[in-house]
């Protein structure tokens, strides 16, 4: 449009002004790249499900990621080169996420992508980034993304995976000879969690008394609970997520099952616990990547919490929110180490990176780019024991960072 106008022989004043306006807008949008190459910002694409059931988690992710970017810029960026976060709503939909990611790469010319909050959605993002040789740091739980079929050298996984969380939770809750029943959401993530728990169960020497698969998204679990009760387990492992977890725990409590057995979940969520209430969650044990209460023992957690509180009116960061921080922060540290955004150099820098930004030491394993990190085992507190509104959990154990918690490279299909 701009071209057509400037070719006119006798432009009116209005056309000239309009043309200048458009030209300026185009400059701001970063069209004449050559002229701005010196100060071109580091652009990080950030697809996350702002709308939909995980909206609260997604907003926490954005806040934390923005904090990481702000700290980077406040510290002078990369020799004056600032970073920019381009947040896109993936609507918790794989197709939408793929489209937004493609736009981020092709139109917005991002240098790397961090984000997604669903095992299916992150695989869709990974498809796109992998095909275009774009670095992607996934911050959503998945086992498959580490496996050779879906992985690429551009793929990094900052989040925990079901294998790690179930191993840590089982280690601290299962005992030799204990009877374990499983209630499992019938989809990929549910099955991954079940597989992880059963492996840990075999290692500990506990015994499975039954597995019940439930349809994904079921609102009522009362029809599954009598059968679980009849199995008389010591431990009930509920392998589902989000709303399903909230509903199933609420109803298990309603059926008086918490008095009969210990309820254990692979991942316990800050926001879910708030939404459901203390009485229902009281005593439930689950894994987590982050809990703000770590600040009592870990200096980087204290620093992260304080910065987050200052930026967000005193609110504390949540588990999935923290992924936004650790993911973006590790990327920016690697870019700093690499001295620029050149993909191969950043990949090498990420592989070599040792980072401790919120939860103690972390690093990306060479073969599958899984972030080796600690897994927290949290127990939900009674209302009477809570010191304040966000004093939700007791840190029952911190399973230290280490490769022993991961499946071996060979098991994932990597030869070397």
């Amino acid at each position: 449009m701009q071209d057509n106008r400037t070719k006119l022989n006798a432009p009116t004043r209005r056309q000239v002004v309009g043309g200048i306006g458009l030209g300026t807008a185009a400059t701001l949008l970063g069209m004449p790249l050559v002229a701005r190459a010196q100060v071109e910002p580091i652009r990080i694409g950030f697809p996350t499900p702002l709308t939909g059931p995980f909206g609260a988690e997604a907003r926490d992710q954005v806040k934390s990621a923005e904090l990481a970017v702000k700290q980077f810029n406040d510290a002078g960026g990369l020799g004056g080169r600032k970073a920019e976060l381009l947040v896109r709503d993936d609507k918790l939909n794989a197709g939408e996420a793929a489209t937004r990611t493609l736009e981020l790469i092709e139109k917005d010319k991002v240098h790397a992508v961090v984000g997604a909050l669903s095992s299916a959605v992150q695989l869709a993002v990974n498809e796109v980034t992998r095909a275009r040789g774009m670095i992607y740091i996934s911050i959503s739980q998945s086992d498959t993304i580490n496996e050779v079929k879906d992985w690429s050298r551009f793929t990094f996984h900052e989040a925990l995976n079901p294998h790690m969380t179930t191993a840590a939770v089982a280690k601290h809750t299962f005992k030799k000879g204990a009877k374990v029943a499983y209630l499992v959401a019938d989809y990929a993530y549910g099955h991954e969690m079940l597989r992880g728990f059963k492996r840990a169960q075999a290692a500990v020497g506990a015994e499975s008394v039954g597995e019940i698969l439930h349809p994904f998204g079921a609102p009522d679990y009362s029809t599954f609970l009598p059968r679980i009760n009849a199995m008389k387990p010591d431990i009930l492992c509920i392998c589902n997520f989000g709303r399903d977890q909230a509903n199933s725990i609420k109803q298990a409590a309603e059926f008086g099952m918490k008095q009969q057995m210990k309820i254990v979940v692979p991942v316990i969520l800050h926001n879910q616990r708030l939404a459901v209430g203390a009485e229902v969650f009281d005593g439930v044990v689950g894994g987590a990547n982050y809990y703000w209460g770590l600040e009592e023992t870990i200096p980087s957690a204290k620093a992260f919490n304080d910065a987050f509180r200052a930026a967000n009116g005193g609110a504390v960061p949540t588990d999935y929110g923290a992924y936004g921080y650790t993911g973006v922060k590790s990327l920016l540290q690697a870019i700093t180490a690499a001295g620029g955004t050149e993909t191969d150099k950043v990949i090498a820098a990420l592989e070599a990176l040792k980072y401790d930004v919120a939860k103690g030491p972390q690093s990306y394993r060479k073969c599958d780019h899984q972030s080796i990190q600690s897994v927290l085992v949290l127990e939900s507190k009674k209302k009477a024991d809570m010191k304040n509104a966000v004093d939700l959990f007791r840190v029952a154990a911190v399973e230290q960072s280490g490769e022993a918690m991961l499946r071996t490279c060979a098991e994932l299909g990597f030869s070397g």
Binding site: G52, P53, F54, G55, A56, D186, I212, L213, H214, P215, G217, A218, P219, D220, S222, T223, F224, L225, P226, R227, N229, A230, R243, A246, N247, K250, Q251, E254, F255, G256, N271, Q272, L274, A275, V276, G277, E279, V280
Partner: protein
């Protein structure tokens, strides 16, 4: 598989069915009388639960919530009929469908904005917490209470429909609105009230479900589908059909959970398909209606 377990499954299924009946009743009455397929029905179920939470927070009492929330949401239903549905009565049947479909989205978004995305805690009333040994196993007291409330509402509805003048008009109006108009009955006023009652019923379902399920903005999504399934199985517009089909669906889902738990949700759709094949008008529907 022992008898006790099957008895527990049947009881669980009956509770499931009771909640289904509350939502399906409103859905089928509104369809039968007004000819409107109310796609906002699930959203209004959710609004009922949130209204219950709001009233319970204000008054500190579940009992007030149980009483006030359905009335308040029923009043909202009256407003919706008066200002949104009524202008569409002489328009093609698609228009009210589009309107209620959109309204459902609007309501969900409004709740997300006001109460947040994640849902909100709602405890079982203190008097009904706990389980009771029924001889077949332990069953939550609250769920027995739900069956009792639904039975009471059904009895009141039956009395209202069978023993009052208003009920007579409703029954006649459902059968032949044109004759009723010729006889000088103001059908618009009737539709207005019926819509309000239908919405009040689904809101009551929402309040009853709130202590059992997590109260969140999407809790009505599956409810709409379930109400639809129950209505189709029972026969469009049939009140008896909605009650029988609601309980039936609850039992089928529950027994499926026992033998093939992962098929629990799909089983109700299979039942619907079966009924459509054998008796397309539904169990209690009139052929050609």
């Amino acid at each position: 598989m022992d008898v006790q377990l099957i008895a527990m499954q049947l009881l669980s299924g009956a509770v499931l069915g009771a909640v289904l009946v509350m939502t399906a009743l409103g859905f089928t009455i509104i369809f039968g009388m007004l000819g409107v397929v109310n796609f906002a029905h699930g959203a209004l179920f959710m609004i009922g639960a949130y209204a219950g939470v709001a009233v319970a927070m204000q008054t500190g009492s579940f009992w007030w919530a149980l009483l006030v929330a359905p009335l308040a949401v029923g009043a909202l239903g009256l407003l919706i009929e008066r200002f949104l549905i009524r202008p569409l009565y002489n328009r093609p049947a698609d228009d009210p469908i589009l309107l209620t479909f959109g309204l459902g989205y609007v309501l969900v978004e409004v709740v997300r904005i006001v109460f947040g995305n994640d849902g909100i805690p709602f405890s079982t009333p203190a008097a009904l917490v706990g389980v009771v040994n029924l001889g077949i196993g332990y069953f939550p007291i609250y769920r027995l209470f739900v069956i009792a409330v639904v039975a009471l509402i059904l009895a009141l509805l039956w009395l209202g429909l069978e023993k009052t003048r208003f009920g007579l008009i409703v029954r006649a109006g459902a059968r032949d609105p044109q004759i009723m108009r010729v006889l000088g009955v103001d059908m618009r006023r009737l539709w207005f009230l019926v819509f309000g009652v239908g919405i009040g019923l689904t809101a009551l379902g929402g309040v009853l479900a709130a202590p059992m399920r997590n109260v969140n903005p999407e809790m009505g999504a599956l409810v709409l589908a379930e109400a639809f399934v129950v209505t189709v199985i029972g026969g469009l517009g049939s009140i008896v059909g909605a009650v029988v089909a609601g309980i039936l669906v609850g039992l089928v889902v529950s027994l499926t959970s026992l033998v093939a738990p992962e098929m629990a949700t799909i089983s109700m759709f299979a039942l619907m398909a079966l009924v459509l094949l054998i008796r397309p008008q539904g169990l209690f529907g009139r052929a050609g209606a």
